[in-house]
Amino acid sequence: MTSNLPILPVALPMVAGIVLIFLRDRPRFSRGFALAANLVVLGVAVTLVQRVRTDGVQVLNFGEWPAPFGIVFAVDMLGALMVLVTMVVSTATLLFACFSLDEARERMFFYALFEFLLMGCNGSFLTGDLFNMFVWFEVLLISSYGLMALGSEPYQLQETFKYLVINAMSSSLFLVGVALIYSLTGTLNMADISLKLAEVSDHGTLAAVAVIFLMVFAIKGALFPVYQWLPRSYFAPPTVVSALFGGLLTKVGVYALYRVTSLFFAAHVPFLLPLLAFVAGATMLLGVLGALSQWDMKRILSYHIISQIGYMIMGLAIFTPLALAGGIFYIIHHILVKTSLFLVAGSVEASRGTTHLRRLGGVIDQAPTLSGLFFVAGLALAGTPPLSGFIAKFMLIRGGMEGGYNLTVLIAVLTGFLTLFSMMKIFRYGFWQTADDSTYEPGGATPRVVAIAVLVGSGVILGIGASFFVPYAQLAAQQLLHPQAYVQAVLGSH
């Protein structure tokens, strides 16, 4: 069944981005325009989720070329949910950017790059074609290079260069994977590949392809052992950009890993899931240990991104309905909560000029609402009931015990405890302790707090209303576990 809905989350940001290039000299108008565009796409995303829920997988064949020949967009529950949560966090981040970014950066096409980044993210979530996914990755990466270097401070430039080289390497590897899979199956349509792989007899090459894809998305998603680029790169740009990257970009890699593992490799490459379980455990533990050693709020939060990506991969590695649903729920929870934590750090930085814990303190007296929001978000991140992190971790850990992954579960629990410790460290030193010589400039603080409150509020609702939201994650998990419905929707009934 064909409808033009799936292209809108890509097309609208593209048009908005192009218009915003020409609005360069009118920053006030650009803000309003970008926000309005984002709200429209948010509405589209809600419709898309509901449509997928009632009518099943949505497919759009471009140019009416029948499925395996043309490029398709195929939206299942996971893709639709990712687009929705992308639009929620990007709207809040945009609101925050309007009240925290200096005008020089705004004039250097911040809003245009922002919309192009969204276009790339949404494209990767929606596409049903492997090469097309590579192209969307490049779209979002090139926008992210621009955003990361925006402002051209020496520190930003050097970190952007490293980030660019690492990502260019992983994109090259992505192309190798695409080439090998094309030589095995003769198709690039993901649903078609999923069917044709059953007939492939060359299991050696298939295993190599699986490892290449694991490596590609491990680099993009910052998994063990290739996560070292993340804390440094995410420290460089303005905090609002780090917030968007920290919430969103690595999760595109995680999403792609979910997609290719469930469609291509889970059934044919027996060693992949245990390998993923090992990688998940190592990522969780080393990420959180890295966080413990840091004394800067932004760096601590960056290391926590790594450890929490481990949880998401844990859900994928266990590959049971409960654990997968837990992993998907975790992704959504993480995007909301992590972005809000970064935005708190940005707000503190804007008022105090630093995020270093040894130079902070007393924020709770100066900005009680902000501190309260950080407290709630920190608890949600650590997984305290009744917040969203608890639900996600509960599903993952229960799924892990049922699946017999006891060691991974043990690491997950330990990591949760250390995360709580680390959040308390930030709260204790950054917010609670008395400051001796602090200057506080609250300029533009209220709209920023509103942006953060929207995200923290969504996180809280996600936790308390879990009985409403978990079925969506379960539906997404079912579709991943049984890709037949996806394949059939794309290729028709033959």
């Binding site: 090139i142 020496p154 390497m169 192309l175 094309y182 800067d296």
Partner: protein
Amino acid sequence: MDVPILFTVAVTLTCGMYLVLERTLLRVIIGLGLLSNGINLLLLSTGGLEPGSPPILTTPPASLPPVDPLPQALILTAIVIGFGVTALLLTLAYRTFESLGSDDLGDLHGRMNDE
């Protein structure tokens, strides 16, 4: 035809990888260019490098089997993307060199709140 092409791919990728591991910014960029070219060749070889006729249906059918046109389309896209990324990298490397006064990757660390 496969073996010589794959040999070329291997040599190009090796040289590219070697250059990426160098410490000079410009060599890293040239290395990335070589890598992406090598991978484009790999993409070309996936279509099968047998002699064949153009992929156009004719009556009567052509005597040779048609060539797979898709890898060439993929390479075209990959070249365009690679071109854009290389241009961006060169600009970035130049700005980095301007602001840091060094083109040695060993100097690209530290600063800003590093403990």
